[in-house]
Symmetry: C2
Subunit: 140 residues, 2 copies
């Protein structure tokens, strides 16, 4: 289902970044993940494919990919970052306070308003973080 050669890493080869077995495993995990796993969970899943992957390598690889813009780091709750591949369109997150589930959404209008507000304050937005925390609507 997935290509043998993984793009983000291959792209980085020219910059001296090496494509290793463990990095491919970690990238594979991120590709397959529909949730937003933590480092510990990424480690566990990566080890299923390649038991040699270590915790330090997970963190180092995530750092490399994040710096390259291929991975996004989220700090939803206070207990550990959650990661996702930055391969799709930009989006924000709605976190279910009961289940911890993460729903992605996008609003061009909100983003436009953000830019306007920043401009009024004399700033150019580099990036932003919008997180909604809520619970499933009850009743109706």
């Amino acid at each position: 289902m997935s290509n043998l050669i993984d793009d983000p890493l291959s792209d980085l080869r020219a910059e001296g970044v090496r494509v290793t077995r463990q990095r491919l495993a970690i990238l594979h995990v991120l590709r397959e993940a529909s949730d937003h796993p933590r480092a510990e969970e990424i480690l566990a899943r990566a080890r299923a494919q390649d038991p040699s992957v270590s915790q330090a390598t997970v963190y180092r690889t995530l750092a490399v990919l994040e710096k390259a813009g291929s991975v996004l780091r989220n700090e939803f709750d206070g207990s550990g970052a959650r990661f996702e591949l930055a391969d799709r369109q930009h989006h924000d997150h709605l976190i279910d306070l009961d289940t911890g589930a993460v729903v992605e959404f996008r609003s061009a209008l909100i983003e436009q308003l953000q830019a306007e507000i920043a401009a009024e304050l004399g700033y150019d937005i580099e990036w932003h973080r919008l997180e909604l925390y809520g619970r499933k609507t009850t009743g109706v």
Copy 2:
């Protein structure tokens, strides 16, 4: 300038929360702070008023006040929470990537859009976090 009896703590007395010297010192620090200090900075400032304040007490007091809704915890960058008194109107933050300065702003329209988006997804928003990260506009 500030009252002798501090409100948030006094309000909590009925619930078994005690008003102590160190808690008053910490609250005083938050009152005087126009920035969004970290726990360590709050400790340093509180000690200027009462040297007996310990690190553990700062964290415990912030937790008490946060639970009571009198203090807001922010996780702007990855390195430690930054606190502020929740005595004014709700607002969001614009963080200056160059200086770390925090500008507060508010947009009723954005909040309305957030509620609408959440409703479409079948959620009621409990709270939210909107942070813009940018740099001062150059030129003009």
